[in-house]
Symmetry: C2
Subunit: 235 residues, 2 copies
């Protein structure tokens, strides 16, 4: 019974939506209007984040800056993480820019990949609070935001593009043990990310000096990924 009623309601709704008959209630704000408000909220969050650091970004303070109440924020974003997602892109852009700079003057794919891995690690170590914003916010229950696809963000980043191209070139040259570009960048990503997350979050372990652990760890990954004979002298 309930099922039937529900079905009828859904069908009515679909009919109304599809034929664009006059809706009954207050009309929703246009997508354009909504976007304006969303941007005002994001701008407030960014201002707080840049001015006073991540720990000052609270929903209540964002609301004050955006001239609304905290509840209104939840009308436009699922949760705090959802708002901060939009700041990710800017942080990734910084990372990307620093990576682009890091490969300047390096021509062969292997050197470029090595430089990118090194820079990735150093960027996060030098911006530990940015790292926490992105990787250490517990969302517990909520599923990942389907409208924020990190792979697509990364795809638009020049730094990631350079990595992909270097891997592509490497594959052509028979550089790698594997013949699968996606697999290769995922292996590289998990390994460098492991170094970053270990050094930042596992502070109870007495790690080797940063530079030693970083360099030997990266070289280990590259030796494991690159076919014998292709491993040139570094840099």
């Amino acid at each position: 019974m309930d099922c039937k009623i529900f079905l009828i309601r859904v069908l009515k709704k679909v009919k109304v939506m599809s034929t664009k008959e006059k809706r009954r209630g207050r009309p929703p704000k246009s997508d354009r209007q909504k976007e304006v408000i969303r941007q005002r909220i994001i701008a407030s969050a960014r201002e707080l984040f840049l001015d006073e650091g991540f720990e000052k970004v609270s929903m209540r303070k964002i609301a004050v800056k955006a001239r609304c109440t905290p509840t209104t924020l939840y009308h436009y974003f699922r949760n705090k993480r959802h708002i901060l997602h939009f700041l990710w892109e800017e942080l990734f852009q910084q990372l990307s820019d620093s990576c682009v700079e890091a490969v300047q003057g390096y021509k062969d794919p292997l050197s470029r990949i090595r430089r990118l891995m090194t820079q990735y690690i150093h960027y996060w170590l030098e911006n530990k609070d940015h790292y926490r914003v992105i990787f250490m916010i517990e969302d517990l229950s909520s599923p990942p935001d389907e409208d924020v696809n990190a792979t697509s963000i990364m795809g638009r980043m020049q730094g990631f593009q350079i990595l992909v191209e270097a891997i592509e070139q490497g594959c052509k040259d028979g550089l790698f043990f594997y013949d699968d570009m996606e697999l290769i960048w995922q292996i590289l990503s998990t390994h460098v990310h492991g170094i970053v997350t270990s050094l930042i979050t596992v502070r109870e372990i007495q790690w080797r000096p940063d530079h030693e652990l970083i360099e030997s760890s990266i070289e280990t990954t590259l030796r494991g990924l690159v076919n014998e004979g292709h491993l040139l002298k570094r840099y």
Copy 2:
């Protein structure tokens, strides 16, 4: 002036403490008594954690179970993380046990290391909430607890002991590219940890199927760490 006064106060305190004269105020609880209360608090936290999952562990609920107020908890522990640190040891023990079981029947160091790496990853992937308890609690300001040394915890774990012994044996056999046991286990740790943390926390990326990424990632690390010719057929 202030400095001088401070110095005098310190000296008085030291004198009193060292000569064991009668103290003026209410005497502190004995270390034994304090330990009893600490254990009661930890037991309450553990009960909540095991019965209802991590998200139910709140300072207020621990306090109720331990029959005191939340503030009292802060008399015996610096913060929530400090209490949960004592649960770490038990989770690490589970991990250790599963690792001990995983190497059963594997004799050569390389196979044993490979088994340990694989089991480490699978343990955390199968116990994601445990992973979050340990690695994803933001402590923001506070420095790492100096009285909880993860390396010493790990040292007492048989699973870690087996890893160290396997590395030791490997070094004797000339198995590894590096000749430094600590460096080797730290490289192994960061790499496997990178896989775990990526798969658990970076959900916005469409990762390769677990088994594929795990296996090729581990093999990459081992190829990079093990000298040519020593890399036997797997398992």
